[in-house]
């Protein structure tokens, strides 16, 4: 199909879709006028029932914890897929190219910023079920701290900081750990992923029962998954910029 015909066809279809979307919007409750029962119940119940002040975290790691396990395994499978796609044709590791950042100011800023980002990420994960944050959000920030080392330092120091076997171990432990915590509940006779630890007092780091454990498991999984993704894509780049080993 020619480009013009395709765009024309899209124009007609988009007009129809836009009309349908607008029609469906008129059937929605007005903005700010939401009457979903579950959210209201959870807003009242979660802080008391699970001693978790962040209700979103309680939904993610407790009430809907089984879904989150699926979500983690999606991430795990996708990262494995990327690794398999990109590693197979790359027969041997390209020699690590020298590409250090030459500006001292940028290096100093980047390295200190990487440290601060690392602390921020850990803080976001650690307090995820008390204040806004959580394993997923903090994990992405933690991975960004590692990426900063490449951006402001060099590819070589990034690779030295993130050895693939250790990152892979972290990813496996994060994903597997979540499942194992769920299975522990089965072992003591509860339902899968049932919250089995004492709940503590809301607002404290020790609150929430199993939620902190699941939170840290997903934080580890997300950090390692993203670092592994960066590794794979940066290895591709290393092959491309290495003058002696251009891929055929």
């Amino acid at each position: 199909m020619s480009r013009r015909a395709r765009l024309a066809l899209f124009g007609i279809a988009a007009c129809g879709l836009a009309a349908l979307l607008l029609w469906s919007i008129t059937g929605l409750p007005k903005f700010g006028d939401y009457h979903g029962a579950y959210g209201k119940i959870l807003d009242k119940a979660a802080p008391r029932e699970r001693q978790t002040s962040n209700v979103v975290a309680a939904v993610v790691f407790d009430y809907r914890g089984f879904d989150t396990m699926g979500e983690e395994l999606i991430l795990f499978a996708a990262v494995m897929g990327v690794a398999m796609l990109l590693r197979e044709p790359r027969e041997e590791e390209a020699p690590v190219p020298e590409d250090p950042v030459r500006s001292d100011a940028l290096r100093a800023f980047g390295v200190s910023f990487a440290g601060a980002t690392l602390v921020l990420g850990l803080w976001i994960v650690a307090h995820g079920y008390v204040t806004p944050g959580g394993g997923f959000q903090g994990g992405v920030i933690l991975a960004a701290a590692f990426l900063l080392v490449w951006l402001a330092g060099s590819y070589r120091s990034y690779r030295r900081l993130t050895p693939v076997p250790i990152v892979e171990l972290g990813e496996g432990t994060g994903a597997g750990g979540y499942v194992v915590i769920g299975l522990c509940a089965l072992l003591i006779g509860d339902a899968f992923l049932q919250n089995l630890l004492p709940y503590g007092v809301a607002g404290k780091l020790s609150s929430g029962g199993s939620i902190p454990l699941l939170n840290w498991a997903s934080g580890l999984e997300v950090t390692a998954a993203f670092v592994l993704l960066f590794n794979e894509f940066l290895s591709e780049r290393a092959v491309l910029i290495d003058p002696t080993r251009r891929p055929s």
Partner: protein
């Protein structure tokens, strides 16, 4: 005015699909797809919004304070994770396409023969 956020979500969705349809570059296509997916975040979050409601986080806030819906926020989190994994996989496929077909233009790809 009271429907504006929903209309915005629909608009982002359509603009994203438009970007995919007229794309001439795989990276552009992946970014367009991410944009399309981000319309669902806007839709979910605006559906769960409660007028004058705070965040569903009750640290230093008395229990029973009006708050927005936590369930759709958790769903948005899942949504973002799925969107990132799809983008990562598609970018990996784009690298492979560049290696094998020597092009980043979806129009120039020949049909795959088995």
């Amino acid at each position: 005015m009271s429907y504006l956020p929903f209309v915005l979500a629909a608009w982002i969705f359509l603009v994203g699909i438009f970007g995919i349809v007229r794309s001439r570059h795989f990276i552009h296509l992946v970014v367009s797809l991410s944009l399309t997916q981000s319309s669902t975040y806007v839709l979910l979050l605006s559906i769960g919004y409660v007028k004058h409601g705070g965040a569903p986080i009750f640290k230093d806030v008395p229990l029973g304070t009006k708050a927005v819906d936590p369930v759709v926020q958790a769903l948005t989190l899942t949504d973002i994770v799925v969107s990132v994994t799809v983008a990562a996989l598609l970018l990996a496929v784009a690298i492979e396409a560049k290696k094998h077909a020597k092009t980043m233009n979806p129009d120039e790809l020949r049909p795959v023969r088995g």
